[in-house]
């Protein structure tokens, strides 16, 4: 059985170190877990590579202007330099005061992208423009109108099952000229549940379960389930004439589809395969059983979920599979 690390994402050593440093430096500057408002101590401003290039160009222009005492060229350089400097303030103000409200994610299967929605709001009487969010590179960008909220959609690939801790992400803006970037690192204490990836060629569902049949599904079916009041649109053949005559009211036959046998999804059925494969097959079975609307129970070494069906049952089973032995 392969050993699985405590965290779901397998990160490189370098990434871990960088993250550690980030946390050391940044967390001390104040809480950075939602909900919170970005303040001056969270926001960093540095030139972009384009900004450096622009600066070099200005330096050359200034050198020429000074040498030839060309005053209009110098004035141009001074104006541009001041504008560039001014954009740092604008970029900073574009970020400061932005409120990160909450982060939401839904469970995904391993191999899919974990999707996070970061809700942010602008409570100020000023617009914010082009604020980007992303883990390493920007993934989403939003404008904020006055007094409005928006959500950033971020995604992160999943490699292993279990809890995926949402990595620290960056809010960044290069507004207005792209010369400077102002950014903040956010350390969300959010996680996304990653189910094992369902096996592709999973064996057929085990039929010989011991469990009793689940509840049949109401609606059009072959077997009579009971009576109910007639509703406009019920077929004439379905009207229970006898019962209707007795009660002075029209009744229809309520039909149902008989439920197939319940199945037991048991870890032990899959001996021979390694743990991850077993989990992956079990996941595929849960999905298949749910899809066929069967009742099923799940049995893992040391843990089990009694028979049942429905959305909640499915989530419970998948969660058990996701977190088994972690």
């Amino acid at each position: 059985m392969p050993t699985i690390a405590g965290t779901a994402t397998r990160r490189s050593f370098k990434d871990a170190i960088v993250d550690r440093i980030k946390q050391r430096v940044l967390v001390r500057r104040g809480p950075l877990t939602p909900p919170f408002e970005l303040e001056y101590r969270h926001i960093f401003v540095l030139p972009t590579s384009f900004g450096w290039g622009f600066g070099v160009m200005l330096a050359f222009m200034a050198l020429g202007g000074l040498n030839f005492n060309n005053n209009m060229a110098l004035m141009l350089v001074f104006l541009l330099g001041t504008i560039a400097q001014l954009t740092t303030l604008i970029a900073y103000r574009n970020m400061s005061g932005l409120r990160i409200e909450s982060i939401y994610s839904e469970p995904v299967f391993c191999g899919e992208n974990a999707r996070f929605r970061v809700f942010a709001s602008n409570r100020d009487e000023r617009q914010r423009f082009a604020i980007q969010a992303g883990f390493k590179s920007p993934q989403d960008c939003k404008d904020f109108k006055l007094n409005s909220s928006e959500s950033f959609r971020l995604h992160q690939p999943t490699i292993t099952r279990g809890w995926l801790e949402m990595p620290s992400f960056r809010l960044e803006t290069r507004f207005p000229l792209g010369l400077f970037k102002a950014w903040s690192w956010i350390f969300p204490q959010s996680r996304c549940l990653v189910y094992p990836s369902p096996a592709r060629n999973a064996p057929a569902l085990p039929k010989s379960g011991h469990g009793h049949a689940g509840r049949a599904i109401k609606g059009d079916g072959d077997e009579v389930h009971g009576l109910r009041k007639y509703q406009a649109g019920d077929s004439k053949q379905r009207v229970a004439w006898r019962a209707s005559a007795r009660h002075n009211q029209l009744y229809s036959l309520d039909m149902e589809t008989p439920q197939e046998e319940a199945c037991e999804l048991n870890w032990e059925l899959l001996h021979g395969a390694d743990a991850e494969t077993r989990l992956s097959i079990l996941t595929a079975w849960v999905i298949a059983a749910d899809h066929k609307q069967l009742s099923y129970s799940l049995k893992l070494p040391g843990e089990q979920i009694p028979i049942g069906n429905g959305v909640d049952h499915r989530s419970k089973c998948l969660e058990l599979l996701a977190l088994h032995l972690l």
């Binding site: 001074f78 104006l79 082009a130 404008d143």
Partner: protein, 659 residues
């Protein structure tokens, strides 16, 4: 229009604006080569063409550079270098499809704008600099938006219009101006350049040149740009005294006059005494890329870095590449050369063999009849005056025997024809003579009380050496058209030079020159000297770089603090969204309710809001209900004609705050 398209269109606009002055001064055949890539890029944008293949782009670049090198004869020289920059930027558009390339073009457009000030720093350049800044900033803003959204595959929700971006640019510019100005005034300047322009890197010479052939001054005559401005101390010379001495020509090859080695390199051994100088003045000279500086006859002072030659030309050691100011004094009554040295006499009499036989005949006759040199001079002048000579801008072309043809056949010409013919005639008669070029006249600006001399005042005259009076100025043009000297070259012509050549217009323009002069004084000529003079107000006599830097940092900090404090008011950038007037008046109504103490929750619909407001405010009137009903009506049924009514009602709506 997508942001991507707007971005590239603004980049192209920024490039076109910044290359405009260069385009107008490029050789004409380079203009289509420069414009072609721009046109291609525009078409590519609207027809969704793909970028050209690499081979084709390299080929186009090679062809363009070859054309440039052939035109300028190399890539040395400021015009050629800037033309190369323009051409390269234009060609860069061929591959400008990504944000990164577009940014490079937009930034280098600003660089190009900076290079243009090497050629001109006139008042119109203020408009140019603002146009360049605004268009480039707007382009960069669009490019930023494109990078932020479209490069991620997202579409921005707030549409932002031209007004927003341009208005934003204006705002940036206005906010940056105070600090820009502080930097301009306080940034330490170098008192002398670290490196100079190499002599062979000069180009686009303007003004009088080192040779004179028929037509050379005539070309200048069409040019109304200022040559120099003079501020007099004391007496102002009358019109006929305003002879500004420039290049002097000794060598004649039959068609054109050239400066001689002797006259350029032999320095004056004596000069007028400063005490005797009648005219004292300060000259502010526009750059010419040549070495002559101008003074009234005869200069009694020699500015720093200038040499006074034996024929009293003032020749600077380095070409005048930027606005130059110098103090000057002149003594018009100076006796120039009591004795003429043999070498110089020979030089002043030399004529090429085999030219102008008819003139030679005429002069031989005069020589026999005349008793003295002065009589020949008088006779020549009266010849010009009495024969039917015409002073005209469009003289007939002359071939080999220029003087013959001019004197006997065409009899029409411009000052250089008269000066040239007269000098040749004098030399034939054995009188030492030379051609002097310079400017004659000047327009006195009453508002600024200074004299403006334009290129169109360029003039040529002669000097003859007569025993007992030395070198004497003779202006043969004055004999033909006395008004040339009395009123000026333009006034003495019968025809207009071009369509817009009216006297009133010229006067208006001359009056407006006072702004250009102020600009020159305060901006173009601002240097380390003036910088330190700025501080004499505070009682600091000596200002060094350290003090300047301290003052500069202090000024920047103070202004930044003000901007930072004002930031919530001035840095509030809003995109323009067309507001729905109905919504506007509804929001105004809610505002009035809020003021009265009602708290509206965003979740409330209009009816709920009204009911809550009436309850909360304990309101007895009907206005709230009526306004709400009308709003609902206008909003949900197509009853646009009652919109005005709602606006009125909201306007008149009043609430007493409950106590």
């Amino acid at each position: 229009m997508s942001i991507k398209r707007r971005g590239i269109l603004w980049v192209i606009a920024a490039l076109c604006i910044s290359m405009f002055p260069q385009l107008t001064s490029m050789p004409i055949h380079l203009v289509p080569i420069t414009l072609l890539p721009i046109v291609w890029r525009l078409l590519a944008e609207f027809r969704n063409w793909k970028p050209l293949p690499m081979v084709l782009r390299v080929f186009a670049t090679a062809v363009a550079v070859a054309a440039l090198v052939l035109t300028y004869g190399g890539l040395i020289g400021r015009r050629a270098a800037v033309s190369l920059l323009v051409l390269m930027l234009s060609l860069k558009l061929l591959e400008t499809f990504r944000t990164r390339d577009a940014r490079i073009v937009a930034s280098l457009s600003l660089f190009l704008c900076g290079t243009q000030f090497l050629f001109s720093q006139g008042v119109p350049m203020i408009i140019y600099i603002i146009a360049c800044l605004l268009s480039s900033l707007t382009a960069l803003m669009y490019l930023h938006r494109r990078e932020a959204f479209e490069d991620l595959g997202k579409a921005p929700e707030t549409g932002r219009g031209l007004y927003t971006e341009l208005g934003f640019g204006v705002k940036l510019l206005v906010l940056a101006f105070p600090i820009g100005l502080a930097l301009f005034l306080l940034f330490p300047r170098w008192s002398s350049p670290m490196w100079g322009v190499p002599e062979d890197a000069l180009d686009a010479r303007s003004g009088l040149s080192d040779s004179m052939s028929p037509g050379s001054i005539q070309g200048l005559f069409m040019d109304d740009s200022p040559a120099f401005r003079v501020k007099f101390e004391g007496r102002i010379p009358s019109n006929s005294e305003r002879y500004w001495r420039g290049p002097i020509f000794w060598d004649f090859d039959g068609s054109s006059w050239k400066t001689s080695y002797l006259s350029r390199n032999l320095l004056a051994t004596e000069k007028p005494e400063l005490a005797k100088a009648i005219f004292r003045y300060e000259v502010q000279m526009e750059p010419t890329e040549q070495r002559w500086i101008f003074a009234l006859d005869y200069p009694a002072m020699v500015p720093r870095g200038v040499q006074l030659t034996m024929d009293y030309q003032l020749i600077a050691r380095r070409p005048i590449t930027k606005l130059r100011e110098y103090v000057m004094a002149s003594d018009p009554g100076y006796f120039d050369s009591r004795v003429l040295k043999t070498t110089l006499r020979r030089a002043a009499l030399e004529l090429p063999e085999g030219f102008n036989p008819r003139t030679a005949e005429l002069i031989a006759d005069w020589r026999q009849e005349a008793a003295s040199d002065s009589e020949i001079v008088r006779r020549a002048l009266s010849y010009f005056n009495q024969q039917r000579f015409r002073y005209t801008l469009n003289p007939a072309l002359l071939s080999r025997h220029t003087v013959d043809e001019f004197l006997f056949d065409t009899r029409e010409g411009f000052c250089e024809h008269y000066a040239s013919a007269f000098t040749v005639m004098m030399r034939m008669a054995g009188i030492p003579a030379r051609v002097v070029t310079g400017y004659q006249g000047g327009w006195f600006n009453e508002i600024g009380s200074y004299m403006l001399v334009r290129q169109s005042d360029a003039h040529a005259w002669s000097e003859v050496w007569i025993k007992g009076s030395g070198w004497t100025r003779i202006d043969p043009t004055a004999a033909v058209a006395p008004s040339r000297v009395q009123q000026g070259a333009i006034e003495s012509l019968a025809q207009r030079r071009h369509m817009l050549d009216y006297e009133w217009l010229r006067n208006v323009r001359n009056s407006f020159d006072v702004f250009q002069r102020g600009w020159n004084n305060w901006v173009v000529a601002f240097n380390s000297d003036r910088q330190s003079r700025l501080f004499s107000v505070f009682g600091w006599d000596f200002v060094d770089a350290v003090k300047l830097v301290i003052a500069m940092i202090a000024a920047i900090l103070i202004i930044s603090a003000i901007i930072f404090l004002l930031a919530p008011f001035v840095l509030r950038f809003r995109s323009v969204q067309r507001q729905d007037p109905l919504l506007q008046s509804w929001q105004k109504f809610i505002g009035k309710l809020t003021k009265a103490g009602f708290t509206a929750r965003p979740s409330m619909g209009p009816l709920e809001l009204a009911a809550n407001a009436i309850g909360q405010l304990n309101y007895k009137g009907e206005a709230i209900t009526r306004i709400t009903e009308l709003y609902v009506l206008c909003r949900y049924s197509k009853n646009a004609d009652r919109q005005q009514e709602l606006v009125e009602m909201v306007k008149n709506f009043k609430l007493q705050t409950i106590s």
